[in-house]
């Protein structure tokens, strides 16, 4: 409809003009080549140019942008560093992309109260670097921590390799300043350990930009442990490695990190960074213990014994800090390492009860044969968070489609065994259909009502994170779960 199109163009240029009245010229981007860097986040299979990108640098500017967009009913997608892996920051063609990239000041480090207040565009690692002067750090460490920002971490409730002991983002923040869809400034949580009223801090964490724009974050800081040490154990069977994880925990030890990799992931990582992993192992475990010097020594002894008793073919303690770093480098490079051995890979993110690991890995292996697509598994074993990497070639006809279907079946398997479709990457655009598998329509309706409580006009990141019931009905018609339709009350079409 050309007429409609002309109307849109007129409306859009009106909005862009209005935005230019609010912000300096370089902070409003509307030319296609300037918009290009914002067309996707870390999940590049989804791409879309936004109508316009704005780069505000003050809270007042964010408020006026939101007031303008609210008045004109224009949707807004917030973006941090764009490292997200679920398409949560995917722009809308008729929407504003609001980048928080200019909010990158550390406002206050308060070692006496063990907290730091930062702007949302501050990188995760930069907080720990700034706190290091006081012997402190910010605990959650997603693998993208050199690039990802704290605002995005809050929006996604990011984890990392130290979650089992130190928790997720939700456990490590105290206070947020948030701008609502209507441009109102809210202070959520507080500098105290709890705050009056409902726990909106929990609700806001992991809300994927659907409830408000985060413009300031106060995080908890922890004292840096005196010592950290890693034990590497090799196994000739993934089941035995899984069993060893349960035995360490049953012994009353909570490792700082407990990671597992399977054969393909081990080999890819080893070829890439030469971490000294045993290439012939079916699985390795990396178990990091931290605490005081004597405590770590005591735990290392205990863990080595448990690993040996669990049938490890080799147990190695990092000889020095350099080797410890190298062991971790292998794990942290696992994704790019896999990227070297295939044209494309697709990273999944399900969580399962740990005891289900052998079953789930066996089923993934069977599906891998069925789809003719190889899978490398890396696993936050301590907290049951599985990252199968499906290897594929996007240039081969139909392979991306097969990969996506395979991935969906892995997530459904996670739900079947009592787990969840996303442990830390978020739902975004990517897993929106799988939400229909995990939740019933009453629950999804409640989620929509929660969103409406913050954003009655539905202008913040619309279409992400929570599917409409119609979408689920269409999805359910294609994928019948447990022989039942998940939404029997809905009409089918």
């Amino acid at each position: 409809m050309p007429h409609q199109h002309e109307n849109n163009v007129a409306l859009n240029s009106g909005l862009i003009r209005a935005l230019r009245n609010l912000l300096p010229p370089e902070s409003v981007l509307a030319d296609a080549e300037d918009l290009r860097p914002f067309e996707c986040d870390g999940l590049a299979v989804y791409r879309q140019l936004p109508m316009v990108v704005v780069l505000p640098e003050t809270i007042e500017q964010v408020q006026s942008i939101m007031r303008l967009c609210h008045a004109q009913r224009v949707p807004v997608v917030a973006r941090g560093a764009g490292t997200g892996l679920s398409g949560g920051a995917l722009p809308l063609a008729d929407g504003v992309l609001l980048s928080l990239a200019k909010f990158k000041r550390i406002l206050n480090i308060d070692p006496d109260n063990a907290m730091a207040t930062v702007q949302p565009g501050v990188r995760n690692l930069a907080i720990s670097e700034a706190a290091a002067a006081y012997g402190m750090y910010y605990a959650p460490d997603p693998s993208s921590q050199i690039a990802c920002t704290i605002g995005g971490n809050v929006a996604e409730n990011s984890g990392g390799v130290h979650c089992l002991k130190y928790g997720l983002t939700v456990h490590n923040i105290l206070m947020l300043k948030v701008i609502t869809a209507e441009g109102e400034l809210l202070t959520i949580g507080g500098e105290t350990l709890d705050s009056p009223g409902y726990d909106l801090l929990a609700l806001m964490t992991g809300s994927e930009g659907m409830l408000g724009i985060i413009v300031e974050v106060t995080v908890k800081l922890l004292a840096k442990p005196e010592r950290a040490q890693v034990v590497l154990a090799a196994f000739d069977d993934v089941g035995k490695a899984g069993e060893a994880v349960g035995s360490i925990i049953a012994a009353g030890i909570i490792p700082a990190g407990l990671e597992m990799m399977d054969r393909l992931a081990i080999q890819a990582a080893e070829d890439f960074v030469h971490a000294g992993y045993p290439r012939d192992a079916e699985a390795i475990l990396l178990c990091e213990l931290d605490g005081t010097d004597a405590e770590v020594s005591e735990y290392i002894m205990a863990v080595r014994e448990i690993l040996t008793d669990s049938g490890a073919t080799e147990v190695r303690t990092a000889a020095d800090e350099a080797e410890r770093q190298l062991f971790w480098k292998g794990r942290k490079s696992a994704f790019p390492a896999v990227g070297r051995i295939c044209p494309d890979y697709y990273c999944m993110d399900g969580t399962i009860p740990r005891r289900q690991l052998p079953h789930v890995l066996r089923r993934i292996g069977e599906m891998s044969v069925e789809y003719g697509l190889a899978v490398a598994n890396v696993f936050h074993a301590g907290d049951g968070n599985l990252h199968p990497l499906i290897l594929f070639d996007g240039n081969k006809e139909g392979e991306l489609h097969r990969t996506e279907e395979f991935g969906q079946r892995i997530l459904q398997l996670c739900v079947e065994v009592g787990g969840t479709i996303t442990g830390e990457h978020g739902v975004g655009m990517e897993k929106i259909d799988q939400m229909c598998v995990q939740f019933h329509s009453t629950e999804l309706t409640q989620f929509h009502a929660i969103k409406a409580a913050f954003d009655p006009s539905g202008l913040l990141n619309p279409g992400k994170a929570v599917p409409t019931l119609h979408r689920c009905a269409e999805f359910g018609a294609m994928h019948v779960h447990h022989g039942q339709l998940p939404h029997p009350e809905l009409e089918r079409f």
Binding site: S207, I249, G419, T422, G423, E424
Partner: protein, 358 residues
């Protein structure tokens, strides 16, 4: 785990009662054992008894997850955990012999370990609730990491039943520390605050810090080695029978809590210097949670605490016409109202317990 004789699932019966209340617009007062009924505004409504809906549904120590029905007593849960050498890390106060899991999570109270290990809400992994329409909804799950959907299960923690009736809660649990000692020494309030906050910056396995009656108490827990090592770094004498002290602190059974009059809970940043408010103080949570008996004007107490970024709850006793909980800002009130309506459109659950508009 074999179900005990008293395990019963009353989910469907409770649902029917809520449906009836929804259709007839009858306000309900969700009742566990009543151990925390003193907290919050009095609720007018028909009592709906959840204590029969009980039993541990699933507990596998290797998974560090326990799921139980809301009427299960904390006593039963803690006994099952102790058998496997584990614990509820947030050390919930019971405030009564038959305190239930549901009331514990709804009130979200945490004991002395809170600043070091986390709060009641931190350990909630998932829950099953009845909303105000009589729908059974499940949020979160039984796994450590789960970011599917809004975190509605942690939202239930501290909502005091105003958003829904808890039916089942899954919690993360942790191993009990192998060893624990408490070190105590005489000092003044300012010195105690300085010492407690200095510990936050040190990598020591401290899991309790309290100041009361010119005496500072620091609890150190962890592996035997860790405790021995940390003991050498913290000045003071070893307190005999320390477990009884912390238990009495957690349950408000220390002589301090026998005062008459209103007991205020003052939440502040831990390093906040002693506040110039007349009364008797006890500092817990390393200074972040302070208990106060005072005859000063409640509004003035609230005002002075707010001026240092803190907030006040009238925890026990009458503080005249003053609100029990710290009033919320206008924009936050709007969101609270809308959230309440979204879960409980006819306002049947625990009407007014938290604020008169919820």
């Amino acid at each position: 785990m074999p179900a005990s004789m008293s395990d019963t699932d009353l989910g469907m019966e409770l649902r029917q009662q809520v449906l009836d209340a929804f259709h007839n617009e009858i306000p309900l007062n969700i009742a566990g054992s009543g151990s925390k009924a003193f907290l919050g505004n009095p609720v007018q409504g028909q009592a709906i008894d959840v204590t029969g809906h009980r039993g541990i549904v699933e507990y596998d120590p290797r998974e560090l997850v326990l799921t139980a029905r809301s009427g299960t007593t904390l006593r039963e849960i803690e006994a099952a955990l102790a058998e496997a050498g584990q614990m509820l890390p947030f050390e919930p106060p019971h405030f009564g012999d038959n305190a239930t899991l549901g009331g514990t999570i709804a009130c979200a109270l945490s004991g002395p370990r809170r600043p070091y290990n986390g709060s009641a809400r931190d350990f909630v992994l998932g829950c099953r609730i009845l909303n105000g329409r009589g729908e059974i909804l499940r949020f979160g799950g039984q796994v450590m990491k789960n970011v599917a959907g809004y975190d509605a299960s942690r939202l239930m923690a501290g909502a005091q039943g105003t958003l829904g009736m808890l039916l089942e809660v899954s919690l993360k649990v942790l191993p009990r520390p192998a060893a624990s000692i408490t070190v105590t020494r005489v000092c003044g309030a300012a010195g105690a605050i300085a010492s407690m906050t200095a510990l936050l910056g040190k990598p020591l396995p401290v899991d309790g810090a309290c100041f009361h009656g010119e005496q500072l108490y620091i609890r150190i827990s962890g592996s035997a080695q860790a405790v021995r090592e940390a003991r050498g770094k913290i000045a003071g004498d070893v307190l005999p029978d320390a477990a009884a002290f912390w238990q009495a602190l957690r349950e408000h059974q220390l002589p301090f809590f026998m005062h008459h009059g209103a007991l205020y809970r003052v939440a502040v940043k831990p390093a906040t210097p002693p506040l110039n408010i007349d009364g008797t103080w006890l500092l817990d949570w390393g200074g972040a949670q302070r208990w106060l008996y005072s005859n000063e004007d409640p509004a003035s107490i609230r005002h002075r605490v707010a001026s240092v970024g803190g907030h006040v709850t009238v925890f026990r006793g009458d503080a005249q016409s003053e609100e029990i909980f710290q009033p919320l800002s206008g924009p936050l009130q709007t969101i609270h109202r809308r959230l309440k309506t979204s879960f409980d459109p006819k306002n049947i659950f625990n009407r007014g317990r938290l604020y008169d508009y919820l």
